[in-house]
């Protein structure tokens, strides 16, 4: 079966006809492009699992296999990105095969603009997480198997166009992640893993309820999103299903008060795993809400929007305030990683075309920023051999490389211009101010509190006087921090060239069609019920 899929993928590869607009567009095309992206990590994980590895002799090989798998997937993704038809509202690279016809389940994959954005995020985060995991010494085979499975689950959930398939990937993602934390986490790993399973399990149940509600409304014939998300439901049903989707999204993003897993998971998970969780796995919460709530239940979304906006504002303010009393740098990073998700939620709650566009862009930027802030806090604590803010002090002169990355991460979190988070934040704010003015100001005040908290942390950890009693500190070389550099580079690239780099006076992109252009495909469709009136 698997070999057949691989063989048909190879056979289907052929040069794309027509004019080549950007590099990568004409390299090859395949009707199984998305399946390749979803199942390749699974196949490689299976291969790693059965490879002989006496006394860990091939640990390095395992790491290299995982790395080159991700690099290859990133290349395939780049090809798909360049082949993607911008401004086409419907799903592209679609694959549809009947799977369980008795209950109407199809193996249906496809991707539109927001989905492509999420795929790029997932690809970058996958590569960063593997690079960040190169320091793993124990049970390397199992670790990378589980990491690749996690990536496959996240990618699968992104490209699923069938609710049943989406639910499977959504639910499956928590299992390898919990095992990774349980097997390779810090001292409180058991608590962290169980909390993750419990909260995400609650979200999964909520998503199941919502999907079953939609399925029942459709007459129990199909789980296909193209059908389920176009059913005209009564307002009451929309609110009920919307509330379930909100719960599912809020547990995963996470939003206050469903954030109970954040502190333990981010501070106990290994760096690579924390990057995957903060970067791509949690963004699925907002992605599902975008698809199934905002994109399909306009009345429900409108009725729930004040609640959503309030949750966003409270989350930002809460995260900012908690920083003031945290004494653990990784816990600080964990709380800061909640902020981008709240900004995304504000955009979704505003229900205006621009705000929805901003929230889609912030899916990408928020994922990268969240992963970066969690990762850089972990790197600092590793290199400084302490997590306590009473011990960590004045590190900037002794570890300038990591200090600069931490400063950039903090600035990106605040949406400083030239970082990708600026266009996302500006679009979200500008789009939200008409429909949710109070909550926009509340979020802005919350961001100011976050800035004050960040100033405190930067003062203590980086710029203050060094602590003579602290353990020895060493800076990280660029080779050791490649995974951070990738994320910083992505933020700067998209921040400087959101439309893709172009020669002055021309409209032809040089090699990158631009994230903004790509994500536009699909947004107009999702936002069509929310057109503003004069």
């Amino acid at each position: 079966m698997v070999l057949n899929i691989v063989a048909s993928a190879i056979q289907a590869a052929s040069p794309t006809p027509g004019p080549v607009t950007v590099p990568g567009a004409g390299i090859f095309s395949s009707s199984l492009l998305l399946s390749i992206m979803v199942w390749t990590p699974v196949l490689v994980a299976a291969a790693i699992a059965v490879l002989p590895n006496p006394r860990g002799r091939f640990d390095l090989l395992m790491k290299q296999i995982a790395f080159f798998t991700n690099l290859g997937l990133l290349f395939v993704l780049w090809v798909a990105y360049n082949q993607f038809e911008n401004f086409l509202p419907s799903a592209q690279f679609e694959e549809k095969v009947a799977w369980l016809p008795a209950i109407g389940v199809t193996y249906h994959l496809g991707v539109d603009g927001p989905g492509m954005l999420m795929l790029i995020l997932s690809g970058l985060i996958g590569l960063s997480s593997v690079l960040a995991s190169f320091g793993i010494r124990e049970r390397v085979r199992s670790y990378f198997c589980l990491l690749l499975l996690t990536e496959a689950c996240v990618t699968g959930a992104i490209v699923a166009r069938d609710m049943f398939v989406l639910l499977l990937f959504w639910a499956a993602a928590s299992i390898p992640l919990a095992l990774l934390i349980l097997g390779w986490g810090g001292p409180r790993r058991e608590s962290a893993a169980w909390r993750l399973v419990a909260y995400w399990g609650l979200g999964t149940v909520a998503l199941l309820v919502a999907i079953m509600g939609l399925y029942a409304s459709a007459g129990g014939t199909t789980f296909d999103m193209d059908v389920l998300l176009k059913i005209a439901l009564s307002p009451r049903a929309q609110v009920a299903i919307g509330a379930a989707l909100l719960l599912a999204g809020a547990t995963r993003l996470p939003l206050f008060p469903f954030h109970g897993w954040v502190r333990d998971v981010y501070s106990e998970a290994p760096v690579g795993v924390a990057i995957v969780i903060a970067g791509s796995a949690t963004r699925l919460g907002a992605y599902v809400m975008l698809r199934a709530l905002v994109g399909a239940e306009p009345i429900g979304a409108q009725l729930l929007s004040p609640l959503m906006a309030a949750m966003a504002a409270v989350t930002v303010g809460y995260a900012g305030l908690v920083i003031f009393r945290s004494v653990d740098l990784r816990e600080v990073g964990a709380h800061l990683a909640m902020v981008p998700g709240a900004i995304t939620m504000l955009g979704l709650a505003a229900l205006t075309p621009l705000a929805i566009g901003g929230s889609v862009l912030s899916l990408f930027t928020g994922g990268v920023v969240g992963a970066l802030i969690v990762a850089v806090c972990a790197v600092v604590t590793d290199r400084a051999q302490s997590r306590s803010l009473y011990v960590l002090s004045g590190l900037a002169p002794r570890m300038p490389n990591v200090a600069w990355i931490m400063v950039l991460a903090a600035l990106a979190l605040l949406g400083v211009p030239l970082m990708a988070s600026y266009p996302a934040e500006a679009m979200t704010f500008f789009g939200s101010i008409r429909t949710q003015p109070v909550w926009v100001f509340a979020v802005a005040l919350g961001l100011a509190v976050v800035a004050a908290g960040l100033a405190l942390v930067l003062h203590r950890v980086l710029f203050g006087a060094p602590n003579p009693d602290a353990p020895g500190v060493s800076d990280a070389s660029l080779g050791e921090t490649w995974f951070l550099a990738i994320m910083v580079g992505a933020l700067l690239w998209v921040g400087v060239f959101p439309n893709g780099p172009k020669l002055p006076g021309t409209d032809t992109p040089i090699f990158d069609p631009g994230l903004i252009n790509t994500m536009a495909a699909g947004i107009t469709d999702i936002a069509s019920p929310y057109a503003l009136k004069s």
Partner: protein, 637 residues
């Protein structure tokens, strides 16, 4: 062919913006030593200055601004609804007119002067390469802000300059006091910047994206926004009022109007002198120019909004120099006096838009521009004196006129320029008998008093021996550094003089300005002179009495400020943090309790599953019957 400098604007305008960025890229990609970093940053700034002079030459005989447009990004977000809200885009619109060129020259002079000073006097500062690289980013952001005509673009450059400002002020890594002081330099301006962002957001929510035949698609191009403020469907006065207030707070934060000035008054001592001087002066220029450009939006809101902004500026104009009078740290006092001048300038600008017939608003801008140069000169000279005398307390300083004559003269010129900088603006704009005239006159009096007081406290009186300090070892600052203070102070004096001449104002805004009579000029000069005389009399008759009085008053003011801060901490910040912390602690306990209850439920189910089925069924039936009986009508209800 005759050379027409106007033809060079196509490349000269982008070059003046990009040159500092190129210097930054070169600096971070290979420059390691302090001297080469300094050379790179100065070269970038010098190229920018030369390009600006070329632009000035090109625009000298033309009144129309030069505009060029580069697409940054655009995005279609909807196919229905109002057309101006169906898309979103930001273009890099570079617009240069006479006023912009003038402001650019001032900014570049401030940065070059500060860098030139730092090259000599900041030799012992660690991280020289970092400092100069950040200064290049700062200049890039500043020039970008001044030439921006698209509000989204403007905020992008504005935010970038703000980031560079924070990093420059936090330059002294590894020292606790600077790190502690710069916390507010991130948090407070970021808050006010968010106000500006929200204000722009309110404008976007009403006016959307404008399409221009000559500019392409642009998000809220300022020039095109003004004519449509009242004719756009959905735009209301209420929205304009909200936008105006938000934008005013955003600008006031960076203009450092009291009480939003603490982000730099708290960092004047702990940040490198060049960074502190450069940032406070340049920000005043950026903020006043942006305020002037956006004033049509304010004017379109309503009279009450303008009046409220004017009151805020008037209050800040009086209170800031009043605090400067009782501050015994020379650089902080100069910063506060400069804040007072900035407030006077802002008040004149706002007053200039209260009536459609007024044309004097640009005089307010000129006043702030003149003061900016003097602020840098004064701060640098005072920093040199403080460094040589090893103290930041005016009580312990003195005798600079004998021991550091050149620094003292630079400080004197800067103080005079600071005190006189508002003269032209007031002569053009307000009547001395009006309430506004009284308030602004009082502000000018206090500014001149406060600024000359700094010079007198440093220059006259004995310099006493202290522990580990020998007065005879005090040496004059290096001439190669002081020359920059002189250049800037004299530049400020030239601008003050130019602001008195109506032709220069005509040139700046392309409007005709009625010439005030000689008595008006004399009156406002006399106000400043009264301030100078009061300071001179007080300090020449009894310097220690004057400094003791200001110390006592300063102690009272500090106690008041501390009390306010403590109260805010105790009654606002503390409880909020405690609530968040309590919630954070309660959350895992809640989860644990829930988990345990679920576990108990599971155990109970297991026990039930092992119990005899009939007995369990009977027990459940009894329980159900009792429950139903209790909730049925007639039993309890």
């Amino acid at each position: 062919l005759p050379f027409d400098p106007y033809n060079t604007l196509v490349w000269a305008v982008p070059v003046l913006v990009v040159a500092p960025l190129a210097a930054f890229v070169i600096a971070i990609s290979g420059v390691r030593t302090r001297r080469s970093a300094s050379n790179t940053a100065l070269f970038g700034a010098a190229v920018s200055l030369v390009a600006t002079l070329l632009v000035a030459w090109g625009l000298a005989k033309r009144s129309a601004p030069f505009v060029s447009n580069y697409e940054y990004f655009n995005l279609s977000v909807a196919f229905n609804g109002p057309t101006n809200l169906q898309s979103f885009g930001m273009d890099i619109v570079l617009r240069v007119d006479h006023l912009t060129v003038f402001a650019l020259l001032v900014v570049e002079l401030c940065v070059i002067g500060a860098l030139g000073w730092h090259r000599v006097m900041g030799r012992s500062e660690a991280g020289g390469a970092r400092f100069h690289a950040l200064a290049s980013v700062f200049l890039f952001g500043s020039t970008g802000t001044l030439v921006s005509n698209d509000l989204g673009e403007l905020f992008a450059f504005w935010g970038l300059t703000g980031t560079a400002t924070y990093l420059l002020l936090a330059h002294r890594w590894g020292l606790d006091a600077p790190a502690r002081a710069t916390r507010i330099a991130l948090a407070l301006p970021f808050l006010t910047d968010l106000f500006l962002l929200c204000g722009i957001g309110v404008l976007y929510s009403r006016y959307g994206v404008q399409n221009h035949s000559n500019l392409g698609r642009s998000f809220l191009d300022i020039t095109s926004l003004v004519p449509i403020l009242h004719i756009t469907s959905g735009a209301t006065v209420k929205a304009l009022v909200v936008a105006s207030v938000l934008i005013f707070v955003g600008i006031a934060g960076r203009l450092a109007l009291w009480p939003l000035s603490s982000w730099y008054t708290r960092t004047t001592i702990d940040a490198p002198a060049a960074a502190s001087a450069m940032t406070q002066a340049v920000w005043s220029v950026l903020a006043i120019v942006v305020l002037y450009r956006l004033m049509p939006v304010f004017a379109a809101s309503n009279a009450q909004t303008l009046r409220a902004c004017l009151y805020a500026c008037g209050a800040a104009a009086v209170i800031a120099p009043l605090i400067a009078l009782v501050t015994n740290e020379p650089r902080r006092a100069i910063a506060l006096a400069g804040s007072g001048v900035a407030a006077v300038g802002a008040a004149v600008v706002i007053h200039g838009f209260e009536n459609a017939g007024f044309t004097f608003a640009v005089a307010g801008v000129a006043c702030v521009l003149a003061a900016a140069l003097a602020r840098v000169a004064g701060a640098l000279a005072a920093s040199g004196a403080a460094g040589a005398m090893r103290t930041d307390d005016l009580n312990e300083m003195g005798d600079a006129w004998r021991r550091m004559r050149a620094s003292a003269v630079a400080l004197l010129v800067a103080a005079l320029v600071l005190g006189l900088s508002a003269t032209g603006a007031l002569a053009y704009s307000v009547s001395s008998s009006s309430r506004l005239g009284l308030v602004l006159g009082e502000a000018v009096l206090l500014v001149s008093l406060a600024s000359l007081r700094i010079f007198l406290a440093i220059a006259i009186g004995p310099l006493r021996r202290r522990r580990a300090f020998e007065p005879d070892r005090v040496r004059e600052a290096a001439g190669s550094a002081l020359v920059w203070a002189y250049v800037l102070a004299l530049g400020g004096a030239v601008v003050v003089a130019a602001a008195l001449v109506h032709n220069s104002l005509d040139f700046l805004d392309a409007h005709q300005h009625p010439v005030p009579n000689a008595e008006t000029y004399l009156l406002w000069v006399a106000v400043a002179l009264v301030g100078f005389a009061a300071a001179a009399i007080a300090y020449s008759t009894n310097k220690y009495g004057a400094t003791r009085a200001t110390t006592a008053l300063g102690a009272w003011a500090n106690r008041g400020a501390s009390l306010a801060m403590r109260s805010a901490g105790r009654f606002v910040v503390g409880p909020a943090v405690a609530i968040a912390g309590g919630t954070e602690d309660w959350s895992p306990r809640r989860d644990d309790a829930m988990g345990e209850s679920l576990l108990a439920t599971g155990r109970f189910v297991i026990v039930l599953s092992r119990a005899p089925a009939i007995a369990v069924a009977i027990a459940l039936a009894v329980l159900l019957a009792v429950t139903l009986a209790l909730v049925s009508p007639g039993v309890f209800r």
